[in-house]
């Protein structure tokens, strides 16, 4: 808190000293954001961005978790698919933007696709590694009690991997939020990324640019906090307490 306060003070001081005609003071940022909040457009932009993240990230979860479990469990699947995903993973989501525009145009689908593509790989990798690093003694104990495959998966494999899945989701949602803003800058008419570009283009409203950046940061923090809540579940705590 102190650090943030200090940072704002320095920012204010520098802007006041330099007489910059464009770069806003903190007060201008707050009043700019306040006007947007008042006429409701700010909420619409936030909602649009969150909705895209929800759909893209949700789809990524639906694909990554089953696929990761399967790849971790079946060696053949691991050795065929893992090199492919390891190769796709380090490609920056930004590099996918032209491809997304080519495939899906500049509607709502493109940013959703970009979010999907950027968050699905870390989650697949994390889930796969989770399965492959399950402590052998637990699998042995399960084999010892002679449980069915279904029980083995439901009561041992899945709960053993769940902490890794949650870590994957944290990484995934972080990347998703990063990407949605970048994707919305391309062309669209809603979302926080659009708000940034639009504010700049419509008369250098840098107060709104900075306001959007801060809002993006705060929402990112909240999203991370929300996934962190998952780590508090009793059945996964064992993995995080040390």
């Amino acid at each position: 808190m102190l650090v943030i306060g200090l940072l704002i003070a320095v920012w204010w001081l520098i802007v006041a000293r330099s007489d910059s005609p464009i770069f806003p003071t903190p007060l201008q940022v707050v009043t700019g954001a306040w006007h947007l909040a008042e006429d409701g457009t700010l909420w619409e932009h936030i909602q649009a961005s969150l909705l895209r993240v929800a759909i893209g990230f949700g789809l990524a979860c639906l694909v990554a978790i089953p696929l990761g479990l399967w790849m971790g469990w079946v060696s053949g699947a691991y050795y065929t698919l893992n090199p492919l995903f390891q190769m796709l993973r380090p490609i920056s989501p930004i590099a996918w933007i032209p491809v997304a525009i080519l495939w899906f145009g500049v509607g709502n689908t493109s940013p959703i696709f970009l979010i999907f593509i950027s968050s699905v790989f870390p989650m697949i990798v994390q889930t796969t590694m989770g399965v492959r690093t399950i402590d052998r003694r637990y699998l042995r104990a399960a084999a010892n009690f002679g449980v069915s495959r279904q029980v083995l998966f439901r009561r041992v494999v899945f709960p053993a991997v769940l902490p890794e899945i949650i870590i994957g989701m944290r990484i995934g949602i972080g990347v998703a939020w990063l990407v949605v803003v970048a994707a919305e800058m391309i062309a669209l008419n809603s979302g926080l990324g659009y708000l940034i570009m639009d504010s700049r283009n419509a008369g250098n409203r840098y107060d709104l640019v900075i306001a959007s950046m801060i809002i993006i940061g705060v929402i990112g923090l909240l999203l991370d906090g929300a996934t962190r809540l998952l780590e508090r579940m009793n059945s996964v705590k064992w993995r995080y307490v040390r």
């Binding site: 003694r137 637990y138 042995r140 009690f145 002679g146 009561r155 053993a160 009793n234 059945s235 064992w238």
Partner: protein, 243 residues
């Protein structure tokens, strides 16, 4: 001790070019408690893993009740040094993990009985990370006992506990074994633990391991290690181990 519960018939196993178990044969009677001691790294654990069905021998066979054993079975539960209580399940869920068939109510009741037997009543809903090492060991014992296995395989079960807790668990185990009849195979490096618990003690040689000497422990339970007979036996075993 009339019928032979477990027959180990000339088991040997190599890890690559390294011979680990080199032709081990012995029988375990029904309800008998056999302890196996040996120098560290001699292949004790490998031997037990083979007998319990987790590893395959290169040569030889294991017969349980006259039937050749392939793979693990709930008829013989392994209790190991690191423990394998599932950390994502509560104490009660851990005990109910191996129970099949019975209705949920019966399972809860049965689990409750065994939780009480190992002195953990009141901890049914606790998660393993909230328990101490000794309590975890009790959970693991209870989880094994609740499925009523005929055989218990124990691989240095108490060696990760402190000395006092280890002694307490030995007493506890003995008390439970007096209530419920089990055939037990115990691997240990603690000669006193073996004398306190077992009917028969097998001393293994260094790798590739074979049975070097067999000692019978003819003392009634509960045993006192200060007993001159126990002391003499201890000396003899240690001497056999080269100490």
């Amino acid at each position: 001790m009339s019928d032979k519960k477990i027959v180990i018939d000339d088991i040997s196993k190599n890890f690559g070019a390294l011979p680990v178990v080199g032709g081990v044969s012995f029988d375990v009677g029904d309800g008998e408690f056999v302890a196996i001691v040996g120098p560290s790294g001699c292949g004790k654990s490998t031997l037990l893993n083979i007998i319990a069905g987790f590893e395959r021998p290169d040569r030889g066979a294991i017969r349980i009740d006259g039937v050749e054993r392939i793979g693990p079975s709930r008829n013989g539960i392994m209790i190991s040094q690191q423990g394998s209580v599932f950390p994502w399940l509560t104490v009660q869920e851990n005990l109910m993990f191996g129970l099949t068939g019975a209705s949920h109510r019966d399972q809860v009741e049965l689990a409750g009985r065994y939780i009480a037997m190992v002195g953990l009543a009141g901890f049914e809903a606790a998660y393993p990370h909230e328990l101490s090492g000794g309590m975890l060991k009790r959970v693991e014992l209870a989880r094994a006992f609740v499925v009523k296995p005929e055989i218990l395989y124990m691989d240095e079960p108490f060696s990760a506990l402190d000395a006092l807790m280890s002694l307490r668990m030995q007493t506890e185990l003995r008390r439970i074994l007096d209530e419920e009849r089990h055939t037990v195979l115990l691997i240990t490096h603690d000669v006193e633990e073996a004398i306190y618990l077992a009917d028969r003690i097998l001393v293994l040689s260094p790798r590739p391991t074979v049975i070097q000497t067999t000692f019978h422990v003819d003392m009634p339970h509960p045993r006192k290690l200060s007993d001159p007979k126990a002391q003499a036996l201890r000396e003899a075993i240690l001497k056999d181990l080269g100490l």
